[in-house]
């Protein structure tokens, strides 16, 4: 791997430093300002953000000839033409005629690895998908969202997503809406709660400094389900794609842009 070892050391040092500060901090903090502060800390001590490390790793994986067909992912079409990555993340999920499915960023990367590189879906590593997502997303940093369901398949997926959004279940009696619509602008513990119209889901994939991990949108939705007492769906399954279409189409209607990509958040 070409990634500089000193960078990783710097990254770990910064992490220890950041955690030390986070743990000694007791008073009430503004969550947004705290994220900004943590981000600056990484910039100053490591000179690089963790999300950028993932994206660099993804860039290598993208260009490498891999899999049974010994092919790179450079011919993967994210909706703007083969290999066209600029702005691709801002218009996903969308319908793809070649797989006859609506696919989000992660599912599209997985289906390209299957079709172009000859991998079996079950043998694709989650870590590879995360790094590749970070790389592809980095080409859409701060771009306006453009998720507008047009085909019948996309509209059907939007409607499914809205239904799941309101589906109350589990021993905590939750759905997405009861917090994200009814209490948008409020806080669960220190976490700000946003509605889709306010741009919810526009920061993923992102490095979460509290978890010290890169989370894709599917990881984040899974985390939501688990925290309301519902076992998360299997990755790349329809609930993720449907919810992503719903949230990102609503965020598009609210004229939101992607944040810096990969995002940096708590």
């Amino acid at each position: 791997m070409r990634t500089d070892r000193s960078l990783i050391t710097g990254f770990l040092l910064a992490l220890a430093f950041g955690l030390g500060i986070a743990l000694t901090q007791q008073q009430e903090v503004d969550p947004f300002k705290e994220a900004q502060r943590q981000r600056e800390l990484f910039r100053q001590t490591a000179g690089i953000l963790p999300g950028e490390l993932y994206a660099a790793q993804g860039e290598e994986l993208f260009a490498q000839k891999r899999g049974p067909r010994n092919a790179s992912l450079e011919a993967c079409d994210f909706g703007l033409g083969p290999g066209k990555l600029e702005g691709a993340h801002a218009q996903l999920p969308r319908y793809f005629a070649d797989t006859r499915r609506v696919e989000d960023l992660e599912t599209r990367i997985a289906s390209c690895m299957v079709r172009l590189q000859g991998f079996k879906l079950a043998e694709i590593k989650r870590e590879d998908i995360k790094a590749l997502s970070a790389f592809v997303a980095s080409k859409s940093s701060e771009m306006p969202l453009r998720v507008v369901p047009r085909t019948s398949q996309e509209i059907a997926m939007y409607n499914l997503g809205r239904e799941l959004w309101f589906h109350r279940a589990g021993n905590r009696d939750m759905n997405c809406s009861i917090c994200h619509d009814a209490y948008a602008g409020s806080r669960v513990r220190l976490s700000p709660v946003r509605s889709p119209r306010q741009g919810l889901s526009n920061e993923w994939p992102a490095y979460r400094f509290e978890a010290d991990k890169l989370y894709t949108l599917q990881d984040r939705i899974a985390f939501c389900y688990v925290s309301i007492g519902i076992a998360a769906p299997e990755f790349y399954s329809e609930p993720y794609i449907a919810l992503s279409v719903y949230m990102l189409a609503e965020a598009t209607r609210g004229r939101n842009s992607l944040t810096e990509m990969p995002g940096f958040t708590r």
Partner: protein, 187 residues
């Protein structure tokens, strides 16, 4: 005469069949949920009132509210000793524990607790209502089954789902109402 009887029977059977069948959209929703795997599908199963809240987007029409509240009230169980005020110290632990009450996610309580959520009404000084029997019962019922007073509210039914036993619900009630509890500390 016999013909007419069979005609009616057929109509009733057909009507029953149509009503018990899910529409194509609901079938498609179920298919999507199944695609998430068996553990997810199992967890996404709804009881009838969860389904009712979902259909009405958490805003139950007034004509359905009476029966809804009645069904939920019937689910409330009380401690065997009949005491709805338990031990506030145990209540504090249950109130705080994310695996039990997890109440700080949405409510303030002990004013010293940092970073309490703001989704629910703040509970600092809740005990100023006193500890008359109706106040204690209202508080206990709300903790045990929030949907028995407010259909489809965000607050989950801790007692109904067994997250809090009746005795534990009484402890949390005491944490909110007991004058000695930090919730009601003089400031």
């Amino acid at each position: 005469m016999k013909k007419r009887y069979f005609g009616w029977l057929l109509a009733v059977l057909l009507a029953g069949l149509t009503l018990s069948q899910q529409g194509p959209f609901q079938q498609r929703v179920n298919q999507a949920i199944q695609s998430g795997g068996s553990r997810f599908a199992e967890a996404m199963k709804q009881d009838p009132d969860q389904a009712l809240c979902s259909i009405h987007r958490d805003r139950l029409p007034p004509e359905l509210a009476g029966a809804f509240l009645e069904r939920q009230r019937a689910l409330i169980k009380y401690p065997a000793n009949g005491k709805l005020m338990g031990d506030w110290k145990q209540g504090e632990a249950l109130f705080t524990d994310p695996r039990k009450g997890n109440c700080y996610a949405c409510h303030t309580g002990d004013p010293k607790e940092a970073g309490a959520g703001l989704l629910g009404p703040g509970l600092v000084g809740y005990g100023q209502r006193g500890i008359s029997e109706p106040v204690v019962k209202y508080t206990y019922d709300k903790i045990y089954n929030a949907w028995a007073t407010m259909p489809c509210s965000l607050m989950y039914r801790a007692g109904v789902h067994g997250i809090l036993t009746p005795e534990e619900s009484a402890h949390v009630t005491a944490f909110l109402l007991e004058p000695a509890s930090p919730v009601n500390a003089r400031r």
